[in-house]
């Protein structure tokens, strides 16, 4: 019984610590989405290990420019993110842009996309991955 309580306590502590870490990273990451962009109103976060990806299904409206910022840890370049269309054609990858922490995507038409995010294994083995998305029209 005592052992079970201890395990639950450790899990709760890890959970709270991970939440706090994610909040701090999200606050830092939000700074990349400057005032001219309006937040999309959602929070995207996942605890990542090694090269295990997190996948986000998203619709981007035509006629809008989206700023996507991806962060992990407390320095830039720790999160790799790629955007694919519904046929899995690669539309953008920050790995091709020196691991840029943010990038603007200008959509002419509305597209249903998948964003895949993984840690940059050269700098991080595990951590909270956060995406922040803003738009302007």
């Amino acid at each position: 019984m005592r052992k079970t309580l201890m395990i639950l306590g450790v899990i709760s502590a890890i959970s709270l610590s991970a939440s706090a870490q994610c909040d701090s990273i999200a606050n830092l990451c939000a700074k990349h989405v400057v005032a001219s962009y309006i937040s999309d109103g959602q929070s995207y976060r996942a605890l990542l290990f090694n090269d295990q990806p997190a996948e986000f299904q998203s619709t981007f409206y035509g006629g809008a420019t989206y700023r996507i910022a991806g962060c992990s840890g407390f320095t830039d370049g720790n999160l790799l993110f790629s955007v694919y269309d519904k046929e899995h054609n690669l539309l953008f990858s920050n790995a091709e842009q020196k691991n840029a922490p943010y990038w603007d995507l200008k959509f002419g038409s509305t597209l249903d996309c998948t964003i895949e995010a993984t840690l940059n294994s050269a700098t991080l083995q595990s951590g909270c991955g956060v995406l922040v998305i803003g738009f302007k029209q």
């Binding site: 639950l8 899990i11 709760s12 890890i14 959970s15 709270l16 991970a18 939440s19 994610c22 909040d23 939000a30 005032a35 001219s36 962009y37 309006i38 937040s39 999309d40 109103g41 959602q42 929070s43 995207y44 976060r45 996942a46 605890l47 990542l48 295990q52 997190a54 996948e55 986000f56 299904q57 998203s58 619709t59 981007f60 409206y61 035509g62 006629g63 420019t65 269309d85 519904k86 046929e87 054609n89 539309l91 953008f92 842009q97 840029a100 943010y102 990038w103 603007d104 995507l105 200008k106 959509f107 002419g108 038409s109 509305t110 597209l111 964003i115 909270c128 998305i133 738009f135 029209q137």
Partner: protein
């Protein structure tokens, strides 16, 4: 219940997702606002997909740009906030009011926006969401009267903080309902306004919701074992059958990268085909669902 006549594979595939079962996180239908101590927070969970539903503000901006004037009648009155007794109703209508406050803000109805913001704050407090919609948010909103984008961003950042709070506290079910409420209200705006003016951009935006609706159903699917959620998911699947008639043709075109401006232009295109008859069916179904949510 699902329709007897199968009109297409899309909704059937969605139904299969539900029947296959998903990881039931945040299962408490009547969420009391407490963080659970016996489960690891959702952010620690790895694997599976997360879903992003476009902000209702984007559609409200499209409506304003199409030249359609402000119409108070399409809103859910802010005074109805006291009608919502259960956490299920509160969460859905927190989303509905989010779409409403975006719409009135875009049309420079600042005092009206303030009323909605206070209703949002009330629902948020009652749902135990802390640190998102506080007095400071309301004050900053007032301080930015007249600066539309700043007002919209303040509200959306508050919704993002609320979403983060719910995810941190293993209450994804509540967060999903808020998003669902906002999406339905936004679709209600466009379908009602398309009845008044056959604006092609608005009609196209309605048709584009086919994919978003699929994502929304998948987002809610883990809670299908709770009666209230099941009823909502069934209604959304019914709606997906109507959307199945919308034809979306996609053509991939290689994107163009502008490294200096850190911008990539996505040139792929989609063409949405929707008949008047199908639009009318979608409009009718959305109206029924939205009125069920807001209690009309």
């Amino acid at each position: 219940m699902f329709r007897n006549t199968i009109k297409g594979l899309g909704p059937v595939a969605l139904a299969a997702v539900l029947l296959a079962g998903c990881d039931p996180k945040g299962k408490d239908g009547e969420d009391k606002g407490d963080a659970k101590s016996d489960t690891v927070a959702t952010i620690v969970k790895v694997g599976g997909s997360m879903f992003s539903i476009p902000s209702p503000v984007q559609t409200a901006l499209l409506i304003e740009r199409s030249g359609i004037g402000f119409d108070k009648n399409i809103l859910n009155p802010s005074t109805k906030v006291t009608n919502y007794a259960t956490n299920y109703q509160k969460a859905l209508n927190l989303g509905v009011y989010g779409a409403d406050v975006g719409y009135v803000t875009i049309y420079d109805q600042s005092q009206e926006a303030l009323k909605y913001l206070n209703s949002i704050r009330k629902l948020s407090d009652e749902l135990g969401i802390t640190g998102a919609f506080d007095q400071n948010t309301v004050k900053r909103f007032e301080a930015n009267f007249g600066v539309r984008d700043s007002m919209l961003n303040l509200v959306n950042v508050a919704y993002r903080n609320s979403d983060a709070f719910l995810k941190d506290n293993d209450r994804l079910n509540v967060g999903s309902l808020i998003i669902a409420g906002g999406w339905v209200e936004s679709l209600y705006f466009t379908t009602q306004l398309a009845k008044k003016k056959k604006d092609q951009a608005i009609i196209t935006r309605i048709g584009e919701q086919k994919y978003t609706l699929n994502n929304l159903i998948k987002m809610l699917a883990p809670y299908n074992d709770q009666p209230e959620y099941k009823a909502l998911i069934d209604d959304l699947i019914e709606l997906a059958y109507d959307f199945d008639a919308v034809d979306i043709q996609y053509t991939y075109v290689k994107p163009v990268v502008d490294v200096a401006n850190k911008t990539t232009t996505i040139n792929s295109s989609t063409k949405v085909v929707i008949t008047d008859q199908h639009l009318a069916e979608i409009t009718k179904a959305v109206e029924a669902l939205r009125n069920k949510i807001v209690g009309q």
